[in-house]
Symmetry: C2
Subunit: 281 residues, 2 copies
Amino acid sequence: MPNWSDPLPMKVVRVSCRQISPRIGDLAANVEMSTEAVRSAIAESADIIVLPELVTSGYVFESNAEVASVAVTLGHPLFAGWANALSGRRGSVVIGGFAEAGPGGEHYNSAAIVDADGVVAVYRKTHLWDREKLWFRPGERLPPVIDTAHGRLGVAICYDLEFPELIRHLALAGADLVAVPTNWPLVPRPTGERPPEVVIAMAAARINRIAIACCDRLGAERGQVWTGGTTVVDVDGWPAATAGESDVATADLDLGAARVKTLTDHAHAFDDRRTDLYGGG
Amino acid sequence: MPNWSDPLPMKVVRVSCRQISPRIGDLAANVEMSTEAVRSAIAESADIIVLPELVTSGYVFESNAEVASVAVTLGHPLFAGWANALSGRRGSVVIGGFAEAGPGGEHYNSAAIVDADGVVAVYRKTHLWDREKLWFRPGERLPPVIDTAHGRLGVAICYDLEFPELIRHLALAGADLVAVPTNWPLVPRPTGERPPEVVIAMAAARINRIAIACCDRLGAERGQVWTGGTTVVDVDGWPAATAGESDVATADLDLGAARVKTLTDHAHAFDDRRTDLYGGG
């Protein structure tokens, strides 16, 4: 039986994105701010907490040396700090982005999944956006799906979301919710429209019958303006919470609905795929 | 050089969807109405005309005998009628759905691409929705991409759109625009939201840098209410025209933009795919 067909009884999960703004190159300040964000989310009874991409480092790097100055391994105390901030509500998890120092001196744009006991899993971004390619090595593995007390959790980072192949992989691997740390550069859009990345998240959620929680940034860094598009999308593909100009988007989601891929008596979101024609598991 | 990287000079193409309502089981009336719709679109200088799914037959069948009574082969004069309606504006094409009679007595939910000389290509729907499975055999080939005077045209039918694998296939095969004859059953959505199928089309267009023209239906048939969601989506993923309560959605699109898959100096919508991790061409 595939993972996505295990029944999960109706389960309301509080998902909270904390749209905070790291300071480029200031690891200590960013660790403190991100840990405080976890703590405040726990105070609001969050089950799953999502932080932005590269939240401990900032994004708009100017040199490899600058990346190296903020890159950390999984042994860095920041992860124990996040775990400690979760300890008041065991079972809760945080997903946050960081610059990872690899074993050979290379760097990755990574996201950690951390629970009260420490790091559960790490994902190295596989689709690097634009100048990230100057600083980071692409990950060599698709993201994991992790069993948690609050359902199965997948992770993707920013530009990954624009590759439906990756989200499909996570859904087929059983993800109920995909946490997406992002830094969305502001792009033009027609008046009244949502950011295009949110439209893409809505479609991906609806098609795969999963929730998607995107945690973006506000403000600007070295001239790069961010979208502030933080949005929690439900299993039907509709925005359940947006941060707007605030720091927080929190929604209570029924993740049990993510295990139901049956659409009608004769239609099924996954079984109806024509893998005989286009491949895929 | 892959198809999608051939340059196409800035080319404004008039795409017109005609959201007409066939009468279930009345082939003669539907042929007349659909031919008239082609004629009226040509009178408005349309280059690419899209009609609904199963426009010559209706949709909510009650028996195989009923399907058989309206199923046609490509030799049926209706296609010559569509071709003739196009003859005042050579180079224009129409894409419309019909019930196809197969060689062994089986039926397909098909779409024909027709130009002033006749049928150019036929696609048999590969993802059958719900009770369509009672009446139709699924197609055994992915849809074609056809070179026309107005750019490269792909086709998909209704539920096909909810499988990003299929749209990706068409985009990689060089489609500038995907025509999507549909019959969208009305489903609940939050106030102020677009139909979910339109959100899915917007995301698919944006991700693949192609235009998508969905021609839906209005009204009801045997109790089934339709969405009336007809929308022409541009290469950036934004709706350029919607029919709303009218019969027509027409937009002038720059299809030359569909040949540009480069997003930034260091980012490319297709080259950035990680086919080493998830397969695909």
